[in-house]
Structure formats: structure tokens, C-alpha cells
């Protein structure tokens, strides 16, 4: 756990607490609209597609593809310096929504658009399990 000390740990808010609690259980949740079926991330009180308030938490596949990526060679702060170079990517989930994450488990030079990745969890503190993505063989 010590390798994550000093990093910016997410502080859950009332609207996002179910998401972070699920991460703690190593479950990856997104939202789906009960009315129109739209999937969305990050969590909101309305459906961004049809404005319904009937948005439900659902377990997501946790799989997606890399849309775009960068290799950070100069860390944002000392707490991240040990991980340089690290890959930051935008990932399109199988369900449709796009999110930002770090991609582990590959040489930075080998990453490419369309690469398939899946969620994994890291224990960043007693309170926070952080979702990250790792490359898959498939």
C-alpha cells in the first residue's frame, strides 16, 4: 500500500458513494437508464440521453478498448514519480461510456488504439480501492 501514499485519493461525494463502495468490493459499476437503456459514466442523477431520473447502478463488464493514450514522462507530483513512465488512457467501455484511467501491465511502447483492456483494482488506502485497467490477451 505504501507505494500509493501521497497520491490524490478520490473523496467520494453523496452522488458517487455507491461507485466507490463497490470498488472497495472490487465491483465495477456504471449507470443505466431504466427508461431508455442509456449507459453513462460518471454517475449522475439524470439520464443524459432522455433526462429520466430513473438511473440504476449496474455491474459493468469492466472490459473496453483504448481510444487514445499518452505516456507521462514527467510526473504530476513526487507521489507519482516512482511510476514514470506511466500510461494515461481514455477507455471506451463495452457498454459505451468513456472514462480515463491508468493502464498497467504493458510496456508503454506497446500500447495502441483499439487495444483491449479490463478493470483491475489496487488498494490505495484503507478506504479506497482504485479501479485501473490492464491489458488482456484477448
Amino acid at each position: 500500500m505504501s507505494e500509493h501514499s501521497g497520491k490524490v485519493c478520490p473523496q467520494s461525494r453523496p452522488g458517487t458513494e455507491p461507485y466507490w463502495q463497490a470498488c472497495k468490493r472490487h465491483e465495477f459499476l456504471i449507470q443505466q437508464c431504466k427508461e431508455c437503456g442509456n449507459h453513462q459514466f460518471y454517475p449522475r442523477i439524470i439520464c443524459t440521453s432522455c433526462s429520466s431520473r430513473a438511473v440504476n447502478w449496474i455491474p459493468a463488464s469492466g472490459r473496453g478498448t483504448v481510444l487514445t493514450w499518452t505516456v507521462v514522462r514527467r510526473a504530476v507530483s513526487n507521489a507519482y514519480a516512482a511510476e514514470v513512465p506511466y500510461v494515461i488512457a481514455l477507455i471506451k467501455l463495452q457498454e459505451g461510456p468513456v472514462l480515463m484511467s491508468i493502464v498497467r501491465g504493458c510496456e508503454p511502447e506497446s500500447i495502441h488504439a483499439g487495444m483491449t483492456v479490463e478493470v483491475s483494482f489496487e488498494e490505495w488506502s484503507d478506504q479506497v480501492s482504485m479501479p485501473v485497467f490492464v491489458t488482456t490477451s484477448g
Binding site: K7, V8, C9, P10, Q11, S12, R13, T16, W20, Y42, L67, T68, W69, T70, V71, V72, R73, R74, A75, V76, S77, N78, A79, Y80, E83, Y86, I88, A89, L90, V98, L99, M100, S101, I102, P108, A113, W124, M130, V132
Partner: protein
Amino acid sequence: MSSLRGKTAIVGMADTKVGKLPHIGATELCVEAAMLALEDAGISKDQVDGLVTCHSMTEPHMYHAEAVAEYMQIFPRYCVTANAGGGTTFSVLQNAAAAIATGICKTIVISMADCLRTGLTRDQAMALQSSTGHPQFEIPYGPTVPAFYALIARAHMEQYGTTPEQMAAVAVNGRNYAAMNPRAQMRDPITIEDVLASRMIADPLHLLDCSLVSDGGAAVVLTSAEQAKDFPTDPVYLLGFGEGHGHEHISQARSLTTSAAVESGRRAFRMAGMGPGDISVAQIYDCFTPVLLIELEDLGFCSKGEAGAFVAAGETALTGSLPMNTNGGLLSYCHPGNPGSMFGLTEAVAQLRGDSGERQVSNAETALVHGQGGIMSSHATVILGQEQVL
């Protein structure tokens, strides 16, 4: 309400010194810019009844514009602090013009300054960078500001085949103009090879693909078109405004390679009754080299995917079809953060007055200024012109 086209004019403008200014703070620099612009307009501070500033990272005030008014001992009836990041601070120009056109006030100073180069400790600079992004869903992963823009650059490369050499040509364009600008922070000539050989910060962005970190300030004096004729300077008229707001966080962008500059540009051109072909000179926000390519395309100066070749072919040089960022831009003139887009505005005014010296664009009658804030989030476009294009 009728269009704001031609209702207001810039009658005074100034840049402070830029670069490293360790002996002056951001509040003083903001006042200095305002006083220089008023001097240029030939009026005293007591003739100002509107003040617009932007937030300072190094000397924050909860009520910034009010603090500057108090410092200057002026008592405006219109007092606004712009709050929308480096590129959109001058979108307040549209609000200021509307305030004048509707009679809320008569003469507004817009003054913006900050001291990011000498005014931040290393820890403050780190904290500043760590504060960009979504606090729960982006920042924890450790992205840097260049990394956010690198995501956009990579997406443009993937979709359109844009090359690092073409992005580097944007940096070279800025430096070529800065070499002709005695006030610019970075004036040593650079080549595409120099950009590509500079340190990789966040692939594919090299150090020289990134804009400067500067101290500096700039200000303009805005008044009605009728009143503008009473000032000693040649008025520069505001012909078109447009804004477009696409997202705040890059992970939520509708598109990574097409921005809300499409909307802001279309709105500004429509108000001005002009198109891209009518623009003599452009000042387009260049915080990172790929940003400028996307904006050139979205504003309609190039088709999608063609801006890289456009810049690499020299079309944005003084001898090209669209001289662009003629003061050196954020890449080579200066970039003090929130005030960033003000310098494009003052350079546009200088060009339309014929005051740009060695880098003057011949027969410049119209200018486009474009800024963006956030991570390609909020866009603002302004079109200006001389009296004969009213």
C-alpha cells in the same frame, strides 16, 4: 436584441513587459496593464465606469475585480471577474460589449495579469497542475496538463494521420514571429528537428510543443462606436462574437478531434457577416501545438485533418495566406495562465492599427482572435475590423 456587430470599439490597449518579472506582483501587474491601456486611450482612470479582470493564481482575491478597482480607487458601475480559464477570459468581451450597447456603462477596461513564472513556489505549481481534471475520476491517476492535451494529439494522429513534424511546425511558426517581436520571452530560432529533439513530456508532446510559463499582463479599453471617434487612437471595431462550450473534463468530450470552436467560430462569422476567407490575420490559442491544428480546422480555415499540412507549408507565416499568432503566441511570446488570450487580442488590435513593426501584416483590415479554456472545453471567437469594413 439587435446584433452587437460594430456597436463597440477598442480605443486603448497595452501589454506589460512579459517573461520573468520578479519585482512586481500580479495585482500590481494588472493595475499596470490597465494604466498603460488608459494612457494609450488618452483618458484618466476616473473616466472608466466598467472594469473586468480575471482571477490570479498567485495573488488570489475572492472578489478580484473589486480588489483591483479598490486598489486603483475607481468606482465602476460594472465590475466582473472572468472565471473560465486561460482561453475564455476574453469571452467576457461579448458581455462587456453588451453592457455598453445596452447602456449599463460607457467605458470598460478589461485588464488581466498573473505571475506564473516567478510568483509560484514549486509546491504551488505542482498543486496547480494537480487541480486540473475531475477530482474523483481523472486527477487520482496522475495526469499532467500536457498529458490531457497529448490524449487529443494522439487521437488526431490516429484519425487523420497528423505527424509530430506537423505539430512541430506550429512551434516553429510561433518562434519565427517571436524573433521579430523584441518583447517576446523566447526569441532564439528553432527548427522542426529542435522541437522533435526536445525532451518528451507526454507522448507525443515534446517540451517545445508546450507553451511558456510567464509573468505578464495585458489590457484593452472598450467603448461605444459613437464615443470611439472622440479618442486619439484609430478605433478597432468588434464585428462578431461567438462562444461554444463542449465539456469540462476531457473524458466527457463529445469528440476528441472536433471541438466547440466549430460553434463559436460559426456564431462569430455569422454576426460579422464574414467567412474564413475574409480574415487578414488570426491570433489563435496555442497552449499546445495540436490545439492550434484542431482550431484551424474547426474555425473553417482548413478541412478536417488538413491543418498540419497547412501550417507545415508555411501558410501561417507572414508571407502565407493566413498570417497567424504574429506576436509569437503562447508558445514563444508569453503565457501567464488565465490572461493568456488577452495577448492575442492586443496583438490583433496592433495589427489593425498598423503598429506591429517588423511583423506587420500588410493591408490587415480584419482579424480573428480565438481562445479556449479547460481542456479544449470552452471556446470563444472574436472578429475585429477597421472602420472601412464596418
